[in-house]
């Protein structure tokens, strides 16, 4: 199972990095722009009269602050997910009689006798 998981991580990395290595499609205004922003540009291009009727209550004052908040979002999610998996892994190892921890505990008991 561990080997399968390593291959899964490797495959994810390949699919994510490949677009950076492959030649870019021609005629891009800005390489690797966000799809959301492209859709917004397409709307404005086809409907020059459209005025957004509401604007965000608050916007990150700079690209740095924006990337800070995106990093925070990812960190919070990854932190909780990692906590959960670590907790359950610890629990399952403590229960397994053949785990290293159980063996060490047993040796400690033997040493006392």
């Amino acid at each position: 199972m561990r080997r399968v998981n390593l291959w899964l991580v490797a495959a994810v990395l390949v699919v994510a990095v490949l677009p950076l290595i492959l030649p870019l499609p021609r005629g891009l205004a800005e390489p690797f722009a966000g799809a959301d922003a492209q859709a917004q540009a397409a709307i404005t291009a086809a409907n020059p009269d459209y005025q957004p009727w509401f604007s965000p209550l608050w916007e990150p004052p700079s690209g740095e602050i924006e990337s800070l908040l995106f990093a925070l979002q990812a960190a919070l999610g990854a932190g909780l997910l990692g906590y959960y998996l670590g907790l359950r892994r610890g629990e399952s190892q403590r229960r397994k009689p053949d785990s290293d921890r159980a063996r060490l505990d047993a040796q400690a008991v033997d040493a006392h006798d």
């Binding site: 499609p25 799809a35 086809a46 957004p52």
Partner: protein
């Protein structure tokens, strides 16, 4: 898949909000039921939300030369059923609308509909179908998560086409235009989301079989 603030005409914004509302109410009741009936699985529910939190923060390059992000809503949908994800997905979208100016309050209903409703229901349907047809667990999980991801972006493209039909080629022309921006870009990202969801399910089976048993998820599948 985030439709920017103010970029849906008021009627459309209101209609998608109304369409999402019953799913949110149903979702809130599902969350309450899960926490009441399976208190042990509460932390797993939070982790499914956390998975959507991480994945939707990651903007990943695609072969089309643009960037987009996965949604992470398939995992929770196959573990807990699709309705809880309406609430968890809405929390993610609200965070991004308020703090990142990504998406928006007026487009929240439309964005919830694509990412937190259609995506999870597609994941759930695909997962059940693949398992009923005897497909192996990993394949079912992969297809569920990646097709949910794609479906979310197809819904976004449709929502924009409905609001902004092309002056010349009409609704279909607009659908092709927005579809080519979103759907094509999303294909490699959907693959990534599928692979990562299989990875997390593998880890859950390995370390958290008790929680999965509590939810009657993939009974009998062990490491």
């Amino acid at each position: 898949m985030h439709i920017m603030e103010g970029f849906l005409p008021p009627i459309h914004a209101a209609a998608w909000g109304l369409a999402s509302l019953p799913f949110l109410v149903m979702g809130a009741r599902s969350v309450a039921r899960v926490t009441r009936e399976h208190p042990r699985a509460k932390l797993l529910l939070a982790s499914a939300g956390a998975f959507a939190f991480v994945l939707s923060a990651l903007k990943i390059p695609s072969v089309t030369g643009s960037c987009s992000h996965p949604t992470g809503t398939g995992l929770g949908a196959i573990l807990f059923g699709p309705s809880v994800m309406a609430v968890l997905g809405a929390i993610v979208l609200l965070f991004q609308a308020l703090l990142l100016a990504h998406g928006g309050l007026t487009t929240l209903g439309a964005n919830i509909f694509s990412m937190a409703i259609v995506g999870p229901w597609v994941a759930y349907g695909v997962y059940r179908l693949a398992r009923t047809l005897g497909g192996p667990l990993s394949l079912a999980v992969f297809l569920a998560a990646s097709l949910a991801d794609l479906a979310t972006y197809l819904v976004t493209a449709t929502q924009l086409a409905l609001a902004f039909p092309d002056p010349v080629s009409g609704l279909l022309g607009a659908l092709t235009k927005f579809g080519s921006i979103f759907a094509l870009t999303q294909v490699p990202l959907a693959v990534i989301e599928g692979l990562l969801t299989v990875l997390v399910v593998n880890l859950l089976i390995q370390y958290s079989r008790d929680d999965l048993d509590e939810l009657a998820f993939a009974p009998g599948v062990v490491r």
